[in-house]
Subunit: 205 residues, 4 copies
DNA sequence: GATGAATGAGCCTTCATTCAT
DNA sequence: AATGAATGAAGGCTCATTCAT
């Protein structure tokens, strides 16, 4: 009857995240162990190698699974502006968490094995673009949006959001609050591409 | 009379860039030397430490000095669309070069000494935002653009461009060519905010 | 519960001493490790740098603490010759151990931090001179010794001893056994400076 | 007709001495070159290796050749005290120059090739001992000195002198001027071993 | 001959990983 | 299971030595 497990992975991952986001892949396992309050050896009981730990720490539990259904169900909804704002806020919130990790992962110099590479899916930002493209297309199809190339505009839209997260992470630079940022770009976007009168009138507010 | 100089810094920097952009700060000096076709010791004759080399390799010769004047002189120009496209292309071209380096530098885990931190200026992307904000403001002032918060829209505009460079660097993902990408977002932007008839008519083309 | 400690500093220091006394500061840590029968990394777990190890290996646990009291208590003792011989033997024994280390330390080229520099005391040979000076002075005071400048004669006396250790260490040169060497110089010294009849008569033996 | 030699060995050796006596064998050839005011390459034109330069710099042009004759000719001279003082001063003067070099050489960690090892002679201090032993023996033979073991007393005598040089070199410690130091030990020595009335009477002064 | 740029072998030191309890 | 002592491979950096002029 062996001693019961008293260390759980999440506390290691949490500590690893702290260290890796601060020092990059060069962060030391000793420090991770110290912050996690466990011994160095224990880390390697849970993660065979430092790379594994790094990947686990930088990976993000995918939370976009049901976004697709949710967004598509809002296609054609009464209030276009707020449904798109809602989407934008969701994405931005997520990007602010993910972007720093992606930056670290991409620059760690470790070769990311296939199984870790977003589990066969495209990486979150690309996934977001694809989801949004489908949403845009749907709105185009019902005649509420007029854009020739939904994918490009989705890319640009996500880009604005991603850049917010990026500048925040890298330069600690924020032009305004996340929410008002999202409102601005949604307003701008709809103003350019929405054929919906309601939106136009909303703009006057 | 002594053996003439046969190594110049740029060939070292070039090799360092190759290695660092591939492997991050973990890239080995031996490999840099091999790629540069020189001995390892020579690297350290030119750069006291690996960190110094890294910073030199990731630093970007600023090329934005005279953008300000150029852009401001185009304020109110006949063809709004193309002048903004021109600006967008300039920025994107630059970002595609800079973004990978910024990512590497920010995540290297080395403490960047003040003198290297963009020589007291804000980092390029932020600088771009500021320049563009002024351009937007000028166009607002002459009544060709109608936006409430130029800074936020500049951020979003640069964001779209930056994201293009970012996805290209990190995921090798491109929705289209850089030029047509710029055209799309400029068109979209003007369509939303330009009060200029000419632009509208151009859109029909 | 963790792997028990199996390396102790003294075995490292011993090995370091062997190597450093043979090769000076240039002695390699790899060799020290090999001789100590441990891994090179372990050395640096115990001594942050090679310099630290060197200083620890060349430093000598001071053993002169209570010499002062001991010697002073023998002032005026019945047998002057043997009490001075006793002192001489003690010093010589110690010098034979210390001199080689002092030589190495002084010529290592490393800057010896204050805390290592004999802990604020003068270095052993100087300390010996001072102790002996006081002893001589005391014997002068009770009228058994007639010397004008005790410090100079202490210096010369220690010098004879130190030279024995020095020639032994550097040239492997010994004129006789340490004990008979001490006897000779003590006899000579007393013969010159002792006003005690008993000593004179001892000389005839 | 090649360009005439414009660098002479002595300026290199002088610079090397400065550096080696300060930093030990670790002293850098670059610094020696700088101090000598020549290029690094030139050093190696004159001395095949650093070790060779070191040995040349630490070697001492032997100057004892004719000491033997000189001393022996003073055997039995009118003023024993001053003739021995003269000898002592000569030796001390020489030791003060030699001892630091011997220390450095012995601790450099380089294996000194036979040809450099004092050209087959014993090292200077030992040589001094031998010379002095013969002098003492001669004085014993003519009945002016009464010592049982001249070699041991020569050793002790040289030891006192050597220690003066040693403490000066290593600790910058001097009990008095070299001259008065010599006088003291000579006086002490003669007082112990001289059977010459004149000397005794000199003591009273 | 003199120069100093270029070299590269070698060493100290770090730190991920293993191991004995 | 958990610990942290021990390991050793690997890398940054130095500096004696060579080389092209």
């Amino acid at each position: 009857m062996p001693r019961p497990v008293s260390i759980d992975r999440s506390q290691i991952i949490e500590a690893a995240r702290t260290v890796f986001l601060r020092n990059g892949f060069r962060g030391k396992t000793t420090e991770i162990a110290r912050i996690a309050g466990i011994s160095e050896g224990s880390i390697f009981k849970h993660f065979k190698t430092k790379s594994n730990l790094f990947l686990a720490a930088m990976a993000s539990e995918t939370g976009e699974e049901n976004w697709s259904a949710e967004w598509m169900s809002s296609v054609g909804s009464h209030d276009f502006q707020s449904s798109l704002e809602n989407i934008g806020n969701k994405i931005l919130q997520r990007l602010r968490m993910i972007v720093p990790r992606l930056i670290m992962a991409s620059s760690s110099g470790i070769t990311i094995p296939k199984q870790y590479q977003f589990q066969g899916c495209p990486p979150p930002p690309i996934q977001h673009i694809e989801l949004l493209t489908r949403f845009f297309q749907a709105e185009v199809d019902i005649g509420r949006l007029s854009i020739s190339n939904p994918q490009v505009h989705a890319h640009a839209f996500i880009g604005s959001l991603s850049h917010f997260a990026w500048c925040e992470a890298m330069f600690d630079y924020k032009p305004c609050t996340p929410t008002s940022y999202v409102r601005s770009i949604v307003t701008s976007f709809l103003s350019a591409h929405s054929s919906c009168k309601i939106t136009k009138s909303q703009l006057r507010k």
